[in-house]
Structures are given as structure tokens and as C-alpha cells.
């Protein structure tokens, strides 16, 4: 799971943080050496993007991509996944003999962790009180508060 301040790092070099976000980030940096080091490293990208010519070149390359109208990677992956897993919706079948293994599949940012987090209390509150063990294919068994 991303460190609490890590989500703001991406806005530093592009200079797109709001005043409140800046305040949060810089206050944290004064007390956190890892964040301070990360921001110091990010300065190189900031300098690169501060050059108007470099910024223009980068923006132009991104706008060319947008106009080319190609099919997005996400759309291709989503269609592949849908074809693989099926188009129909079906009810969740919980095994009478635990454990029930549920695999969460989705594109990055599609909400796998969020959905799992929302399912957790619903399953936990059931009379059977089955524990939820999030497992990552790369990290193995994770604590309950970690993303799947």
C-alpha cells in the first residue's frame, strides 16, 4: 500500500498541487527523511518540466497520441478479460466447508482493493464469521489492511 504521502509526489514535479496538498506534503517532508529524499530526487524532473521547450515537446507528443485515436490498452485488456471470464453475472457461491477462495481480477485502478475492502465487513458480519485473507500473487499472504 502506498505510504500516506506518496500519492502527492506525482504532483510535485508538474507543479499541480493545491496549496493544501503542498502544505501537507512539505510538512510531512520536514519530519520524514524518506519523503524529503524522494522530493529532492523529484527536483530533477521538476527542472526538466520547467523548461518551456521541453514541456511543449512532451505535451505535443502526448497530444499526437491522443489524436491518433488508437484503441487504448485498457480497453483491449478489459475485452480480453471479459472474453476469458465470461459475459454473464452470477451469484457468489460460498463453500459450506471453508475456505472459499475468491480471486479478484481487474485492471490497475479498477477498484479491486476498494471492492475487497467493502466486501470484508459484509462477509465478516455474517454469522459464520469467516476471516478474509488477502493474498497477493507477488507478496503472498497480506495483512487485512493491505491491498490484494
Amino acid at each position: 500500500m502506498a505510504t500516506s504521502w506518496e500519492h502527492l509526489l506525482g504532483g510535485y514535479a508538474t507543479n499541480t498541487l493545491t496549496d493544501e496538498e503542498k502544505r501537507q506534503l512539505y510538512e510531512a517532508a520536514l519530519n520524514d527523511q524518506a519523503l524529503f529524499d524522494a522530493l529532492a530526487d523529484e527536483e530533477a524532473l521538476k527542472v526538466m518540466l520547467a523548461d518551456p521547450e521541453a514541456r511543449r515537446r512532451i505535451l505535443a507528443s502526448l497530444e499526437v497520441t491522443e489524436r491518433s485515436g488508437g484503441v487504448s490498452d485498457e480497453k483491449v485488456k478489459w475485452e480480453e478479460l471479459r472474453d476469458l471470464l465470461g459475459h454473464e453475472q452470477s451469484a457468489l457461491h460460498l463453500s459450506s466447508q471453508p475456505p472459499t477462495v475468491i480471486m479478484m481480477v481487474g485492471l490497475q485502478g479498477s477498484g479491486k482493493t476498494t471492492t475487497t475492502g467493502k466486501l470484508f465487513p459484509a462477509v465478516w458480519d455474517k454469522p459464520r464469521s469467516w476471516p478474509l485473507w488477502p493474498i497477493s500473487p507477488t507478496s503472498g499472504l497480506l495483512p487485512h489492511n493491505m491491498p490484494c
Binding site: E27, N31, F36, D41, D51, L59, E63, S72
Partner: protein, 183 residues
């Protein structure tokens, strides 16, 4: 938080950062030089949101300056001073060329990202804030945008070889070492 309190904490952070990238003596000199610039040239800057980025800016230039000074003194390569050209006070052409090359690498790396990451980067470069990007994407939670952006940043950094900046050798070391490494 007062300016003195902020500067006191900044000194500790700069010292630890510079020590992790070189010797303690060099780190102390570097921290001292950064604070001196803040004290002499920017006494009017008191806000945290201005002082911290200003410090990073000065730190970067002081590190580059130190690298150039060491290069001229022959700290990395024992060469005759007669073979070294006179120092140019302007921008180093080699640095400029490397910067241009890094921009090219960044453009190539961006092309390899997914459509969403490209769009996020484009919107940020156009000056949109995260709350504005949230509205453009029509997302209910800003945390979704933060998560996407954090992942896109990591992908981009990996495609850039794990660092945004140039490679600067450390004083007293005979070979190159990445100074501006990233997480």
C-alpha cells in the same frame, strides 16, 4: 511554524540527504551553503510552501555546482590542470545535452504508458490540479486519482531507469555513482 523552526528542520533533512550521497564533511558544507543562500538571498521567504521547494531548488544547483568544482579540481580523474578548459560560468553544454536527451527518454517512456497514465500526465502538464482531474475523469473519489497517479509515476520512473536526473560522480570516488536516484 516559524521560519527559524522550518530552517532548523530543513538543515537536518539536507544533512541526512547529502550524507547518504557522499561524505559527512561534504554534506555539512553543502547544507551550510544551502542555508547561507536562504539566509542571504531569500530572507523574505517565510512560508513553508515556498521555503521547502526553494530549498530543493538551491540544493540541486549546489550539488551540480559541487560536481563541477570537483571535476575542475580533478577529484574524479587525475589529469593535468593544463588539459582542462577554463570554467564557463554559464550553463554547462554537456549538462544541456544530457538534459535534452533525458527529455527524449521521457517522451519515449510516456509513449509506453497506458492511455490513462498518458492522459493524467497530459492534464497535469496543462496545469490541472488533482481535484480538477477528478472532475474531468468523472471519478467520485479523489483517492482514485491519487492511486492512479502514484502507479503511473512508478511505471514512468521504472521506464526511465529508476531516476529522473543526470548522473553525478561523488567527490573522492573514481567511478560514477547515481546521485539523483529515486525511490
Amino acid at each position: 511554524m516559524t521560519r527559524d523552526q522550518i530552517i532548523g528542520q530543513l538543515r537536518e533533512r539536507i544533512l541526512a540527504f547529502a550524507t547518504s550521497r557522499g561524505s559527512r564533511d561534504v554534506a555539512e558544507d553543502l547544507a551550510q551553503e544551502v542555508l547561507l543562500v536562504l539566509h542571504k538571498k531569500y530572507p523574505q521567504v517565510t512560508e513553508l510552501t515556498e521555503l521547502v521547494p526553494l530549498t530543493f531548488q538551491i540544493l540541486k544547483y549546489k550539488m551540480l555546482d559541487l560536481h563541477r568544482r570537483n571535476l575542475r579540481r580533478g577529484e574524479y580523474h587525475q589529469e593535468s590542470i593544463d588539459d582542462q578548459p577554463l570554467a564557463d560560468p554559464g550553463d554547462d553544454p554537456a549538462m544541456q545535452a544530457e538534459q535534452k536527451e533525458r527529455v527524449g527518454q521521457l517522451i519515449e517512456a510516456l509513449q509506453q504508458l497506458g492511455a490513462r497514465c498518458k492522459e493524467l500526465f497530459r492534464l497535469k502538464l496543462q496545469g490541472h490540479t488533482f481535484p480538477e482531474i477528478q472532475r474531468i475523469f468523472g471519478e467520485r473519489s479523489i483517492n482514485t486519482i491519487y492511486t492512479w497517479d502514484s502507479r503511473c509515476r512508478k511505471q514512468l520512473l521504472a521506464l526511465m531507469g529508476g531516476r529522473w536526473g543526470t548522473t553525478i560522480p561523488q567527490a573522492g570516488e573514481g567511478k560514477k555513482k547515481t546521485v539523483e536516484r529515486n525511490l
